[in-house]
């Protein structure tokens, strides 16, 4: 039990040093207290203790280090440091109902339109996730707000998407891709037609 407390204190100290000011938030301390309670609850189980003692010293050290990294990953300010020990945070932050999302409307040369998701580009859904901050930036730029992403990166990615698509489907080549800001009026939501859509940028494929 004392070992668990020492172990937890060491991880907390490292986390404190890494996270800095983030620890001032009382909820973060509550979160870490939950992990301590779970660890203590498990450490009280004789079957688990026996299994732990049966491990070789080297295996104990490796398992302990991996678990420490798992815990530390949860407290890193940026998830992109300790990969694959990443921050596990899903549906955790309150979403303001007015926060927008972006749609990418694909215009084909034959006059038809579709979405980027349905265009058949590999890993389109994963790419959309990455495009979101870029679209936010492009949207901010149209309102004269400061941006973080390199200028023109969104257009470069969309042109790469179009080039890839046009090679695979020369008969239905993409002419342009529209970046559309969508706002959901949640208090008066009546399906797709009630979503407020505004064009942010049009990117020509060539």
């Amino acid at each position: 039990m004392r070992g668990i407390l020492l172990y937890w204190t060491a991880i907390a100290a490292i986390g404190l040093a890494v996270r800095g000011q983030g620890w001032r938030h009382p909820w973060m301390i509550a979160e870490f207290a939950i992990y301590l309670l779970l660890l203590l609850a498990l450490a009280r189980q004789p079957a688990l203790r026996r299994r732990w003692q049966r491990l070789q010293r080297r295996q104990q050290v490796i398992a302990g280090a991996c678990f420490a990294l798992l815990l530390l990953g949860q407290f890193m300010p940026d998830s992109r440091w300790l990969y694959p020990f990443v921050r596990w945070s899903m549906f955790a932050e309150r979403q303001p109902s007015e926060s927008p999302y972006y749609e990418y409307v694909v215009h084909r040369a034959d006059g038809t339109t579709t979405t980027l998701l349905a265009s058949g580009v590999p890993d389109a859904a994963a790419l959309l996730e990455r495009l979101h901050p870029l679209a936010l930036d492009a949207d901010a730029a149209t309102r004269g707000l400061p941006t973080r992403a390199p200028e023109g990166l969104l257009a470069d990615v969309l042109r790469a998407v179009a080039a890839r698509h046009n090679r695979a489907h020369p008969g239905a080549a993409i002419d342009a891709i529209d970046v559309v800001r969508c706002t959901v009026p949640l208090h008066d939501f009546r399906g797709d037609a009630s979503i407020d859509r505004a064009l942010v940028r049009r990117v020509a494929s060539r």
């Binding site: 909820w27 973060m28 509550a30 979160e31 207290a33 939950i34 992990y35 779970l38 609850a41 498990l42 189980q45 079957a47 688990l48 299994r51 491990l55 490796i62 398992a63 991996c66 678990f67 798992l70 998830s79 992109r80 440091w81 990969y83 694959p84 990443v86 921050r87 596990w88 945070s89 899903m90 549906f91 955790a92 932050e93 309150r94 979403q95 109902s97 999302y101 998701l117 349905a118 580009v121 590999p122 890993d123 859904a125 994963a126 996730e129 990455r130 390199p150 990166l153 470069d156 990615v157 790469a160 080039a163 890839r164 969508c182 959901v184 949640l186 939501f189 009546r190 399906g191 797709d192």
Partner: protein, 314 residues
């Protein structure tokens, strides 16, 4: 306790399942597409961002290097899947390459939580030498039993349960459970169901249009979160494990119907690592033995009758 005992056969089956999952994922990866994406989009999601020289990154993101990485991975994953000797060095090297490949994917897109737990599973199965014993081409007769065959499974179960606990605790404590008292869930249902491919917009939109359904979804979401926080108790309590499996499986299916978010890898692995899979495989083995025994006399009678028929003909 979960995975109190294990067997070479069970561990072998799990090894085949996990490495086959990765084999399929790598096979369906298109490296040429990633080589075409603008380099400015890429950023290592780890300390490699600081450590890896720019020139090396540029070389690695080249089409030929990515195709080579994919080919190497397929060979390594196939080798590990079959449990060929030498198992551990090849499996560990494959896991190292897999980590690089996954970082390339995440560097261009985002860190997909559905690919992290299978990665931990591959690490654990590669780290233990005994993972190669069962269902192996190299040693098909190996049939050892005992706690040592359960240890790799237990290690993954610990990681699995704590990752779920992290998700729940962050939602509950990290932000003071604010998501349960707002219409965030309805917002996600509308937004995600339009951003991810899935079975249609009906269910998510229906919840967002009816506030009472949204309130019910929030209450159910809070119950799921509580279950997630307590996930490590699955390691020691069979009753809680059954409840947890039912709740989390239902939640995953509901998330798929309402938001088109479905972590199929985690859904599959949950039934492998968070259940007493050794008991199941043992039962299947007993059932097969009994079936063979009950068929035995009938088969023998049939053969005798055949022999007699031949004698009469002669």
């Amino acid at each position: 306790m979960l995975h109190q005992t294990g067997s070479a056969r069970t561990l072998g089956l799990v090894r085949i399942g996990v490495f086959a999952l990765w084999f399929w994922q790598v096979l369906s990866w298109d490296p040429a597409w990633y080589a075409e994406l603008p380099r400015a989009l890429f950023g290592w999601p780890s300390v490699l961002r600081r450590v890896m020289p720019e020139a090396w990154t540029a070389w690695l993101l080249d089409g030929a290097a990515l195709a080579g990485l994919r080919a190497l991975l397929l060979v390594g994953l196939g080798w590990s899947l079959l449990g060929l000797r030498p198992y551990r060095p090849i499996a560990l090297a494959t896991c190292a390459l897999l980590t690089i490949q996954e970082q390339i994917l995440a560097g261009f897109t985002y860190i997909d939580p559905a690919r992290i737990l299978p990665l931990y599973a591959a690490y654990a199965l590669a780290a233990f030498r005994c993972s190669a014993d069962g269902m192996s081409v190299a040693s098909p007769a190996a049939g050892g039993r005992g706690a040592r065959y359960g240890t790799p499974l237990l290690v993954v179960a610990v990681a699995f349960s704590f990752c779920y606990a992290f998700v729940g605790a962050r939602r509950l404590a990290g932000t003071g459970g604010a998501v349960f008292f707002t219409d965030s869930l309805s917002h996600w249902m509308v937004v995600w169901s339009r951003q991810l491919p899935g079975p249609g917009l009906g269910v998510g939109d229906a919840v967002a249009q009816r506030p009472w359904l949204g309130a019910f979804a929030n209450v159910a979401f809070a119950a799921v979160t509580l279950c997630e926080v307590l996930s490590p108790l699955c390691l020691v309590s069979r009753r809680f494990r059954r409840l947890w499996l039912a709740v989390i499986a239902l939640f995953q299916l509901m998330a798929s119907a309402t938001m088109h978010i479905f972590f199929w890898q985690n859904f599959l692995l949950m039934f492998v690592f968070m259940t007493d899979i050794n008991r199941l495989t043992r039962r299947v083995a007993v059932w097969r033995r009994r079936r063979a025994r009950s068929r035995g006399p009938a088969l023998a009678r049939h053969r005798t009758a055949d022999r007699r028929a031949c004698d009469i003909r002669r």
